[in-house]
């Protein structure tokens, strides 16, 4: 049986769609781990990046944290977290959160920094106080780039969560790692396809959310600035 046919058969087998090793369970594990890490990362990273960008302070730090984050091997960090904290979700979520933070800090910093100074002057001239100016003028203009940072982080967290299977975690990575261990190519490729789809859906879903959140005028205005979005790939 060709590999494609066996992968097709794997997806067609009802046994793979139920129980603790079924696709729905693994999907929930994968999404839950990733979502927890992204939310914790966003809560930690966005206020820092937004504050640094608003005050224009520590720009080198905000930019270089992504450089440093890129240099960190995600596999090494996961295994170190596993050796420190042992089995369970805690080491996985800690490692994923650490990897989620850098692109969100850098992008939210750049997003605030790139707000046109004339617009800020106009807001000040109209009598906005600092907090109102930040919340009602700067942040709406910064949302596209901030969302790009969240999207980049989310896609990388979903990708890195695949590696969690190496430290006995769940998620779709389980099929890939078990497929390798059992030399079961159908399971291996099926798992890989599921992971790839989940990453693409994450990317497209968050792009769609961004389109819903950002008014068309601001989106068009900020489109060139989106080129400043940080590329980040760690898994």
């Amino acid at each position: 049986m060709s590999i494609l046919a066996s992968v097709w058969a794997w997806f067609g087998d009802g046994a793979h769609w139920q129980g603790p090793d079924g696709v729905p369970t693994r999907l929930v594990e994968h999404v839950q781990l990733s979502a927890e890490a992204v939310v914790i990362g966003a809560v930690l990273a966005l206020p820092v990046g937004i504050a640094l960008g608003h005050y224009g302070r520590f720009g080198n730090l905000a930019i270089n944290i992504s450089n440093a984050g890129r240099a960190v091997p995600s596999f090494g960090i996961l295994v170190i977290a596993f050796q420190v904290f042992g089995l369970g979700d805690l080491p996985i979520i800690l490692a994923l959160t650490a990897l989620a933070i850098p692109p969100m800090v850098t992008n939210s910093y750049v997003a605030l920094r790139e707000v046109d100074p004339d617009v800020k002057d106009a807001a000040r001239g109209m009598g906005y106080r600092e907090l109102a100016q930040l919340l009602r003028v700067e942040l709406p203009l910064a949302v596209p780039l901030i969302m790009a940072g969240i999207r980049t982080s989310a896609v990388q967290v979903v990708a890195t969560a695949t590696l969690a299977a190496l430290i006995a975690g769940g998620g779709f990575g389980r099929y890939i790692i078990d497929g390798f261990a059992q030399l079961d190519y159908a399971k291996l490729v099926a798992g890989a396809l599921l992971v790839a789809m989940l990453a693409l859906v994450t990317e497209l879903g968050l792009s769609g959310l961004e389109r819903l959140l950002v008014p068309r005028g601001i989106r068009l205005l900020m489109a060139p600035k989106l080129r400043r979005a940080t590329t980040f790939k760690v898994a």
Binding site: A71, Q83, I176, F180, V195, A199, K233
Partner: protein, 224 residues
């Protein structure tokens, strides 16, 4: 007393005795790591230079190329290795390099397009007025002016690639990733910590070398 015994029995983060007797072993991993990174970067450059220039010239090429590579870039490396294994084999350089080359090609093409787009219209007009033909203008005017952007892409690609290579340990390669894997399998901290540290160090050294190379080779872009 009992606490001391417990401490002694614990695996230290770095066992220097093990390290001092395993230097050739670690060095082999570093060499494999560097080799895999060089292939991935050179492959990325070879693909991205013509495609990047073509993409900048024509939106008909730009949209599908950046769209397809953008989707490729989104796919996790472990998934791509796994999909390729039945076709290109386990522990082969081909399986490791196809995803890495593709990722680098995307980063580089994007930066080539941005760099070429940023060349001022006046400069192009002046070059045309001086009688430059299309190829000469590209090679002698546009690409040199786009080089800072291309170098920036190369630095991002280099640092990312060096980190990603550790994941190829799953398909039996890995360079320093092999040591991380050994640390995992044997619950032995030293190779894990040493390899993670060396992988970060390698990425930062490569980044510094590229920054230095840019400073030396692009005197017109030294202001920053």
């Amino acid at each position: 007393m009992a606490a001391r015994v417990f401490l002694d029995a614990q695996d230290p983060w770095v066992n220097w005795d093990w390290l001092s007797t395993h230097i050739p072993y670690v060095w082999d991993a570093i060499q494999q790591h560097i080799l895999l990174a060089m292939i991935a970067l050179l492959g990325g450059l070879v693909i991205s230079l013509p495609l990047g220039v073509a993409a900048q010239r024509s939106p008909l090429i730009r949209l599908p190329v950046i769209g397809a590579l953008g989707a490729f870039y989104t796919i996790p490396s472990l998934a791509l290795f796994a999909i390729l294994v039945p076709f290109t084999g386990i522990a082969t350089n081909t399986t490791a390099e196809i995803p890495l080359v593709g990722y680098n090609a995307l980063i580089l093409i994007r930066n080539i397009v941005v760099g070429l787009d940023a060349v001022p219209r006046d400069v192009l007009d002046a070059a045309d007025g001086m009688g430059y033909r299309a190829t000469a203008r590209l090679l002698q005017i546009e690409l040199p002016l786009a080089m800072p952007a291309i170098f920036a892409g190369l630095r991002v690609a280099t640092v990312s690639t060096i980190g990603l290579i550790t994941i190829t340990a799953v398909i039996g390669l890995g360079g320093l990733g092999q040591l991380i894997n050994q640390g995992l399998q044997e619950s032995f901290h030293t190779p894990l910590v040493v390899a993670t540290f060396l992988s970060i160090a390698l990425a930062l050294v490569a980044d510094l070398l590229l920054a230095g190379g840019q400073w030396i080779s692009l005197p017109w872009a030294r202001h920053a």
